[in-house]
């Protein structure tokens, strides 16, 4: 999955000369945490976060009059003074996995997506990543999660998929986890059905063990000595 499929493209951008007051109301109206800054040609030159904006605000401990006075003054400054210039960006061909790792490693909340000419194409935020995961895991589609313990040997997943196929059931997703026993794997197929009775019967008939997910969870949790 490439970032172009998940990123936000209906962007609101500002330019370096935009006043803080204007940027502030744009962020508040659109509930944005990041505003890309572009030049006249649409090239990305920086990014402003809600954190940058907060840092520019006067202290909330000031009395109301001095707060308002300082705020009015601050809000006349331009974006170029508080933005992060040359922010970390990704290219449109970056994958979901790439962005996950970069966001984690660089500790940023959003990544502007720019093409080879430096043109801003979109923004990929942690919110977009979360949405992508809800989608990938099929969480919002009705289904049933099975927990199957299998031996660590090739062909186990095929048998499970064959049974789902025989029963005409679609798979929402499949997760495979290492089990506590090195000889075993736990397989979690998310089946898009309420009808799991005959699938379970067939799995048991083939000798698979259906796990109690809570038992699995407890066995996986770090043990207190």
């Amino acid at each position: 999955m490439f970032v172009t499929e998940m990123m936000k493209t209906d962007l609101v951008a500002v330019n370096p000369e935009t006043k803080l007051s204007e940027a502030r109301s744009l962020m508040m109206e659109g509930d944005f945490r990041h505003l890309p800054v572009v030049d006249a040609e649409g090239k990305l030159v920086g990014i402003v976060t809600d954190r940058d904006m907060r840092d520019a605000h006067p202290s909330s401990l000031l009395d109301e009059e001095s707060y308002q006075k300082t705020l009015d003054k601050v809000m006349q400054h331009t974006i170029s003074e508080i933005m992060t210039a040359e922010p970390i960006t990704v290219a449109p061909y970056y994958t979901l996995q790439d962005t996950l790792l970069i966001i984690g490693k660089k500790k940023v909340g959003a990544l502007p997506v720019v093409d080879e000419e430096g043109q801003l194409k979109g923004i990929m935020s942690t919110r977009d990543l979360l949405r992508a995961f809800v989608n990938i895991m099929g969480i919002e589609e009705p289904g049933t999660l099975l927990c199957i313990l299998v031996n660590e040997e090739p062909g186990q997943l095929k048998k499970i998929v064959d049974i789902a196929y025989e029963e005409n059931v679609s798979l929402g997703s499949v997760l495979v986890a290492r089990d506590w026993d090195t000889e075993k794997r736990a397989i979690f197929p998310y089946l898009l059905t309420n009808n799991v009775m005959s699938i379970k019967k067939k799995l048991l008939a083939l000798g698979f063990e259906l796990l109690d997910p809570m038992q699995w969870y407890l066995d996986q949790s770090p043990k207190k000595e």
Binding site: E140, P142, T144, L145, V169, N195, M197, D212, P213
Partner: protein, 316 residues
């Protein structure tokens, strides 16, 4: 001790699902055989079912959806909207009769012919959305029953308690913004079980905010968590809402023998569910309650659990 009504009709067997489908006609024959064997059947007041008038179906379901379902049956299609929803030519008529059975039971209770009633109907209803069939359900029997109570009998506040192991997404969504119907459901946690809704933070919207309550139960935790959550979640919410009538979505698929779920509720656990609910009903609506069959797929344990449930109903 008042009388308990009982709805069953041979025609409920005519909704035939594909071979090996868990929601099969044998579920009802197993229940009937069990009740006859226990001698319970003779103590119940038989209530005759009649197909529901379409205007009652329309209080919950979109007219286009109703016609689409009828058409799918007339065409002889194998399923409706998802392969889970296996149908035959008689499914539409049977679904109308299931709703009609519930409405007749409500009539009998409201006219004091019986004190309470159990409806052994199929197809089940609680997954059915206003315009979508889901999880073996086509018309939402209980939701239509709630609207019937309100429109036909001027009942203002209806409480629906759903103890099927699956969350009743249809019922919840139908009354999402409605503060006159309180929906409570206890079910296997949606990360593990169909249909993937019914999390604790789903509490209703706008004017219905706070009139939906969900108690998800983790796999394998049936007996502990049903006790805990019925007492902490259902009891206080029910008392605060103070309903005038109660409908039950009675599912018997949370049992440890039932392969459709992983909650592992025991037979005694089900007794606790019955006792807790019927204590509330006794204190609030003077014992007036209509219980409607939803799931329950293990043909050995299902009749036992239904018989236990009915015995407790009779003792209210």
């Amino acid at each position: 001790m008042g009388k308990t009504g009982f709805v069953f009709d041979e025609r409920y067997l005519q909704h035939q699902t594909f071979n090996g489908h868990p929601e099969c006609a044998k579920r009802l024959t197993a229940i009937m055989d069990g009740l006859a064997g226990d001698g319970l059947l003779d103590d119940l007041v038989k209530i005759a079912a009649k197909p529901a008038n379409q205007r009652w179906i329309e209080t919950v379901h979109n007219i286009h959806y109703i016609m689409k379902f009828e058409e799918a049956c007339l065409w002889g299609l194998p399923d409706f909207e998802h392969q889970d929803n296996s149908i035959c030519r008689e499914s539409y008529e049977t679904a109308l009769l299931a709703v009609g059975g519930v409405l007749k039971a409500i009539d009998a209770v409201m006219n004091d012919e019986v004190k309470n009633a159990f409806c052994a109907v199929r197809p089940p209803g609680h997954h059915a959305e206003a315009n979508q069939a889901m999880g073996f359900c086509y018309f939402n029997n209980v939701a239509i029953g709630a609207r019937y109570l309100q429109k036909q009998y001027d009942i203002e506040k209806v409480c629906i308690i759903d103890f099927d192991v699956h969350h009743g997404n249809g019922t919840q969504h139908i009354f999402d913004t409605d503060n006159s119907v309180f929906y409570y459901s206890i079910h296997e946690h949606p990360s593990f079980a169909y249909p993937g809704t019914g999390r604790e933070f789903e509490t209703g919207f706008s004017s219905g905010e706070g009139f939906t309550k969900n108690s998800p139960v983790l796999p394998g935790r049936g007996d502990e968590e049903y006790r805990e959550k019925l007492l902490s979640d259902l009891v206080p919410a029910f008392k605060e809402f103070a309903p005038e009538a109660v409908l039950l979505s009675a599912g018997f698929d949370a049992h440890e023998n039932d392969l459709m779920s992983g909650t592992n509720l025991s037979t005694e656990g089900y007794d606790f569910v019955n006792d807790t609910i019927f204590d509330l009903v006794r204190a609030s609506t003077g014992g007036r309650v209509v219980s409607v069959l939803e799931g329950g797929y293990d043909l050995q344990i299902l009749p036992v659990l239904v018989a236990n449930h009915i015995r407790k109903l009779m003792a209210i």
